[in-house]
């Protein structure tokens, strides 16, 4: 059951055992957040920001752990194998929203770098978290539910000038024993720090594939990133939840002067996935790249909502989102670029492209510009279309049959997004994920 009472009961039953319970500011914040959630409920499409994605279905849905749960160890092993040997990277693994120390491998860290489970930090040093935890008013009501109930997540702090050479992998495995996992990740990068953070969301497939009635899990994640002066943070999210999972995620970044933030969001799984990605330029000369790719088929639904807040002058932002829609899938993209008064010399560009492969798929796009300054350069573009007949014809003259030609062009459409991912192993991993999903993907590998 997912009615509001269910969550209120859950909160009431668990609030005294949540990590950090008893810390006054945290208790107050959680209380306020759950009240807000109780007040607002799940967002419905009467809200402008949720016009194309209503969560009211959650009110009637029941969640359950998977009948054939994943073996968390096997998942982690698989991911690490894909990642070019076990030597690379720092691994922090969460099962059903709780840190699994046995599966984690943080490895050697440079001085000034801290990577810990949030629950430990809340229990032992809550004052480290206080200014970074966020508030009950952040985001929409699912983020408030997260603020009230999230018991764990990653806590990453990089002191001034610290560079994390190898990527930090955060692995979230859901629906193993519990029906819901709520995680909250905090990334605090001080001046000149540099890191690449990868979030993997992996879920179990339902026992009887395709039977929509079988209950899935709820995955609710909030990641908050604070980038100090000239810090460089690359964030990659690979969402491969189970087909019955509802995945609700928010990524909130705040950037100080001269910082660079790149977000790559690859959304391939889940029955319904909603990603709210936002960044705010709080100093001059910030840069942001928001890059994303999603694939839907069956009756799945993926929604990306982005917001880039150019609050200060001389900011640059680039945004590229692509969607491949098959079956009766639905893809939603809504991106807002906001240029505040006085944010001169802003240079913002946004593109959203959708490729429709079937007659029942639906694509909705809302690229929005809100501009209150005159010395700016802003552009956005959105397209919805199908495979270009001329390109198809060209490939056929070269001897490819229609199916292969279509698959190749679909793959090429998706691959453009991957080209922007800097790290080779991650790019390969993303390519493999796409190949596994697109029709005829295994043949692409040979090409």
């Amino acid at each position: 059951m997912s009615t509001l009472e269910h969550w209120l009961q859950r909160y009431n039953a668990g609030r005294d055992t949540l990590p950090g319970a008893g810390v006054p500011w945290l208790d107050a914040l959680r209380e306020e957040a759950i009240m807000r959630f109780a007040d607002e409920g799940w967002p419905s499409n009467r809200l402008e920001n949720w016009r194309h994605t209503s969560l009211t279905l959650l009110e009637e849905r029941s969640f359950a752990a998977a009948a054939a749960p994943l073996t968390a160890a096997a998942v982690v092993q698989g991911l690490r194998r894909d990642d070019d040997g076990a030597a690379g990277g720092h691994w922090l693994v969460f099962v059903d929203g709780r840190h699994a120390p046995a599966l984690s491998d943080i490895g050697a860290l440079p001085a000034g770098a801290q990577i810990r489970a949030l629950a430990d930090v809340l229990a032992t040093r809550p004052e480290w978290v206080e200014g970074h935890f966020g508030t009950a008013d952040d985001g929409a009501s699912p983020a408030a539910l997260n603020a009230a109930l999230a018991a764990d997540g990653a806590f990453v702090r990089l002191a001034r000038g610290v560079t994390l050479e190898a990527p930090l992998h955060l692995v979230f495995i859901g629906g193993v024993r519990e029906d819901a996992s709520l995680v909250r990740n905090l990334v605090i990068a001080e001046a000149n720090a540099e890191a690449t953070i990868v979030e993997h969301y992996v879920g179990a497939e339902p026992a009887a594939a395709g039977s929509a009635a079988s209950a899935g899990a709820l995955s609710n994640a909030v990641t908050r990133i604070a980038a100090g002066h000239d810090a460089r943070i690359t964030h990659l999210k690979l969402q491969e939840e189970g087909r019955n999972t509802v995945h609700l995620a928010a990524i909130d970044a705040v950037q100080a002067r001269g910082s660079v933030f790149a977000s790559h969001s690859l959304s391939f799984g889940a029955q319904l996935a909603r990603n709210d990605i936002a960044t705010r330029f709080e100093g001059e000369g910030c840069e942001a790249l928001l890059n994303g790719l999603f694939h839907v088929d069956g009756r799945r639904h993926v929604d990306h909502h982005t917001r880039i807040d150019h609050a200060q002058p001389r900011g640059t932002s680039r945004e590229f989102y692509r969607g491949v829609l098959d079956g009766a899938g639905r893809g939603v993209f809504a991106g807002r670029i906001l240029v505040a008064p006085g944010a001169v010399r802003t240079d913002a560009m946004q593109r959203a492209d959708n490729l429709l492969l079937s007659a029942q798929a639906e694509a909705d796009a809302r690229p929005e510009l809100e501009i209150y300054a005159d010395d700016v350069k802003c552009a956005h573009g959105a397209t919805v279309g199908q495979i270009d007949e001329d390109s198809l014809f060209y490939l056929r003259t070269r001897g490819l049959d229609e199916t292969h030609a279509r698959n190749l062009l679909t793959y090429a459409f998706a691959a453009e997004v991957l080209a922007r991912i800097g790290l080779a192993p991650l790019k390969r991993r993303a390519q493999a994920a796409i190949r596994a999903r697109l029709p005829g993907g295994e043949l692409m590998e040979a090409l």
Binding site: P367, I371, D374
Partner: protein
């Protein structure tokens, strides 16, 4: 329909002897809105019962609705009981008697626009009969149109003379309960234009409200209905091409276009209502619902608008592309200066097969002006082969202006091709520098750059309108550079 008429009759009988007759003599009804006021409007206009019922139904719907709040505009809530909903033409005695009595600033504006002298007089509200015989002009055109079977008259006249046509089409494109302002209009609309082009007729001239003298005094709630029968073609100019001195605050009009098979309707607007003064005091709230229905195959509806006036503009000319191979177009220039706010755009709904639509919007913001493009392109699940191209560009002049773009695309058919492009930029310093080193003043240079920016839209306007629109932009931008 019979049920509600009975109490209405009873009501009228009760009211009639008590002062209703004297009310008829007066210029305007008292402020406020109620079923009684609507009955009186209908009564004054001598309307048939079905139209009164239609108005009352709209009013009852309106009562249940709330004003839309999603637009990017801000204004104090409107007191709908503080508005005069019916005002007959002012008596000649109140109007200025000659041009000497007209506000000289107003006359200077006309001069800049190049409005002919007798037009200037008419627009300023001078008793025109002495200046030039407008009545005969109107009748000449009427005769010429009559030869082709074209009906072009005021809405009230159409209700009396062609009730079957009005009844058949009224509210079929914009229903009574379509939105808050449309419902209000449906309840209290005072007058407007009615056009019917018979089968296969190509209208021999551009129809314009200019030609029809009674259009000048239509109130703030006008209703226009244009029907192009199979294979007919018409171009209609909605004119308020010079600043109207209008004290009214709210202007809630409804325009309905119906294009049957193979018909072609082109609707052009140059809107320059009073925008308020530099500090945003006064001005018109222009809350208009305009929609075209491409009902037949191969029909074509094209909206062209140049919006430079009004304190607040809330307007989304739309096209329902129902017929196969039908085409919808929207070309717009919207300029906001000083404290003006405009939230405008278009809605294209693709329903038939192989339908095409184009949206081309140019927004210019200067001073404290705020300009918003809001669009919706919807491809329904049966709209095979739909094609849309949308381009909206914003030009910023001055550091306190705002420009927003909120397009929505909803595609439910894989054969659709939908493209949206938007840019926002300011007039480049290098562009200005280049023009000025060729000897142009800063103001002329800006006006030239702006004309270039709007060229694609202006070329859609009929010739005379395009010239006026260009001059209008120049006038509206005055004082924004420097």
């Amino acid at each position: 329909m019979n049920a509600p008429t009975k109490p209405i009759e009873a009501f009228l009988e009760r009211e009639y002897p008590a002062g209703f007759v004297t009310a008829l003599e007066a210029d305007a009804l008292p402020k406020g809105l109620s079923e009684d006021v609507i009955r009186r409007i209908s009564e004054k206009k001598g309307e048939p019962d079905w139209l009164l019922d239609w108005r009352l139904e709209a009013y009852r719907r309106w009562l249940t609705m709330t004003p839309p709040s999603w637009a990017q505009v801000s204004f104090a809530p409107i007191d709908y009981q503080d508005i005069v909903y019916y005002s007959a033409p002012k008596r000649k005695a109140d109007a200025p008697k000659s041009l000497d009595e007209v506000d000289p600033e107003l006359l200077r504006t006309y001069e800049k626009l190049g409005v002919p002298l007798h037009e200037r007089a008419r627009l300023a509200g001078v008793a025109v009969d002495a200046v030039f015989d407008s009545v005969s002009v109107a009748t000449t055109f009427k005769k010429q149109l009559g030869e082709h079977g074209i009906i072009f008259c005021s809405f009230s006249e159409a209700v009396k003379e062609h009730p079957e046509l009005v009844r058949q089409y009224l509210g079929t494109v914009v229903p009574q309960g379509d939105n808050f302002y449309a419902a209000l209009n449906s309840a209290v609309f005072s007058d407007g234009s009615f056009v019917y082009i018979p089968k296969g007729v190509r209208c021999p001239m551009e129809l314009s409200t200019y030609f029809r003298i009674n259009a000048r005094d239509t109130g703030q709630f006008e209703r226009t209905l244009i029907i192009a029968d199979e294979g007919a073609t018409v171009s209609y100019l909605e004119g308020c091409t010079a600043p109207m001195r209008d004290e009214n605050q709210l202007h809630a009009a409804v325009v309905e276009l119906v294009a049957l098979e193979g018909a072609h309707i082109k609707y052009s607007t140059v809107q320059n209502w009073y925008p308020g003064d530099k500090d945003g005091k006064g001005g018109i709230y222009n809350f208009v619902t305009k929609r075209g229905d491409c009902r037949g195959a191969r029909s074509h509806i094209s909206w062209t608008q140049v919006e430079t006036g009004s304190a607040i503009t809330w307007k989304y000319p739309s096209v329902l592309l129902r017929g196969d191979d039908s085409v919808g177009e929207f070309y717009s220039v919207a300029l906001t200066n000083h404290r003006q706010q405009a939230d405008t755009g278009s809605k294209m709904t693709h329903i038939g097969r192989n339908t095409k639509s184009t949206i081309l919007s140019k927004g210019i913001s200067a001073g404290h002006g705020s300009n918003t493009f809001r669009g919706l392109v919807r491809v329904t699940p049966k709209a095979v082969g739909a094609r849309n191209y949308t381009q909206c560009d914003s030009l910023l002049i001055g550091e306190r202006c705002a420009a927003h773009t909120f397009p929505t695309i909803e595609v439910r058919h894989p054969s659709a091709r939908v493209e949206h492009e938007a840019t926002t930029s300011r007039i480049g310093e290098d562009q200005l520098f280049y023009a000025m080193q060729r000897g142009l003043t800063a103001e002329d240079a800006v006006s030239m750059i702006v004309s270039g920016f709007c060229k694609e839209v202006f070329k859609e306007l009929p010739m005379e309108f395009a010239v006026e629109a260009q001059k209008l932009l120049g006038v509206s931008l005055e004082g924004s550079v420097g």
